[in-house]
Amino acid sequence: MSLDSALATPPPAKIRLAGVNKTFTTERGMVHALQDINLEVSDGEFVCFVGPSGCGKSTLLRIVAALERKFTGIAEVNGEMIIEPNRDRTVMFQEHALFPWLDVLGNVMFGLKLKPGLSKSERLGVAHYYLKLVGLEGFERANIHELSGGMKQRVALARSLAPNPRVLLMDEPFAALDAMTREQLYGDLQRIHAARKKTILFVTHNVREAVCLGDRVMIFSPRPGRIRGEFTIDLPRPRDFNDVALAQHASAITTKLKAILAESPETVPTAA
């Protein structure tokens, strides 16, 4: 396999969720985390999940990643049942989850080394390509603890892109970053999405972030987590986080979100 074919984007995948239910058993009793989730994501689409904490949006992402395997309903990628974690669906977590015993290059290479059919020089080529894509050229030998929060998330992004997945799952990846760094990363992520054509599921509780990034924004209500609204964002790309039209979309969604929260008082757990 040549470097070019190693970098060639595989066709992005479709995702289908039908009647997905998920319950947790905690010390307090049963928690209905997700109720009857139906969602179809077309290939190459960028879909954001928005909702208050505890609405199960991260759980849904984990179901697609197969990190959460006990649920009922149908979860399919390209018509195939999701059974176990797979490098076709990589995850970027809120905490960078980088391995401190490896340097930057070692982290990006981790998934690549598990990918069959690549020579060592092709792996290195791929790793360098993605490090450049996220703007970290020259940091190959840096240790993780030496990087800033934003740089760590860039490495994490490069690491999850490197195995060339068909789906990228992002669980509040920018939530712990400062506003300036975040806005930079919005630009970078849109650029990468345009260049690499992945299907992306993106969890956030920042409505404006969702509007800035997503083709579609799904709104979740808490306990039980349900999809309560859907907004298609047809603003031209690349989008600027501070754009006025973007702010208007965001405020419409926020209004809807507030209405949903107001009608579900069970968000505040009652002392039982």
Partner: protein, 252 residues
């Protein structure tokens, strides 16, 4: 540089105090002067007794310690991984770790006689429990996030253990093996002083024979060698790992 000279001054002063105390002591048996200790060491190096005793001791220590690691690390992994091992080996380790391994001497002699095996047994008993506990603790401390991140990139089974769980628990394993080393070293010295074994005359025996001969220059000389070996082991066996952890992980 200034720090170095301050430290040097401290040790020179310490030596001077020792010399002064030795000269004013009622007998050189109570405090052997440093010069006499030095003479003993030179003599013992020349007639090879020191070298031979050191070799006997180091062999016991290295073999026993190595066996302790080979048994301890996999068992520690099992304790972390399987509830059954946690409830059995884990509990046993906690209990036996509190037992100074010199307490095994009477049984070891009954079981193995006055042989090398007795010595090895005592060293292993000193090492293995600390290593089991440190390894299992290290693995249990691993954030689940590492495991999940690795899984999404296709790591599982043996690869997951070798490339994720083992390195992720490295800080704990290093401190655990270091602790195991300290226990092994102490147990061996105690055991060698306690029982004379005909197959090999170790540093502990050399120290003990100094006691029997009232040759305190020999006792103190051997003590210095024991300190030196402990110091060197720390620098050679553990410092490189600790430097790696500091540099790569940013741990202090």
């Amino acid at each position: 540089m200034k720090q170095f000279f301050a430290a040097l001054l401290f040790f020179v002063a310490l030596l001077a105090c020792w010399e002064w105390a030795a000269r004013n002591a009622a007998s050189s048996i109570l405090i052997p002067p440093p010069t006499k200790v030095w003479e003993y060491l030179i003599g013992a190096v020349k007639d090879h007794t020191l070298w031979e005793a050191t070799m006997v001791t180091m062999k016991r220590l290295m073999v026993g310690y190595f066996i302790g690691l080979v048994i301890g690390i996999p068992l520690g992994m099992c304790v972390a991984r399987f509830r059954f091992f946690e409830n059995t080996v884990g509990v046993l380790s906690l209990g036996l770790q509190t037992l100074p391994s010199i307490c095994w001497v009477p049984l070891a002699i009954k079981w193995f006689g006055l042989t090398e095996q007795s010595m090895l047994f005592i060293v292993i008993m000193g090492t293995v429990w600390a290593v089991i506990l440190a390894t299992s603790h290290g693995i249990k401390q691993i954030p689940p996030l590492y495991r999940e991140a690795a899984a999404t990139m296709g790591s599982k089974g043996f690869h997951l253990w070798l490339r994720v769980l083992a390195p992720a628990s490295l800080p704990h394993i290093v401190s655990g093996t270091k602790q195991g080393w300290a226990f092994a070293w102490r147990s061996l010295m105690a055991a060698e002083m306690c029982v004379a074994i005909l197959t090999g005359y170790g540093l502990g025996h050399l120290l003990d024979s100094g006691r029997n001969l009232a040759a305190m220059d020999q006792v103190v000389g051997v003590m210095l060698i024991i300190i030196f070996i402990g110091f060197a082991a720390d620098k050679i066996l553990f410092s490189p790992w600790e430097r790696f952890l500091r540099r790569r992980w940013g741990l202090t």
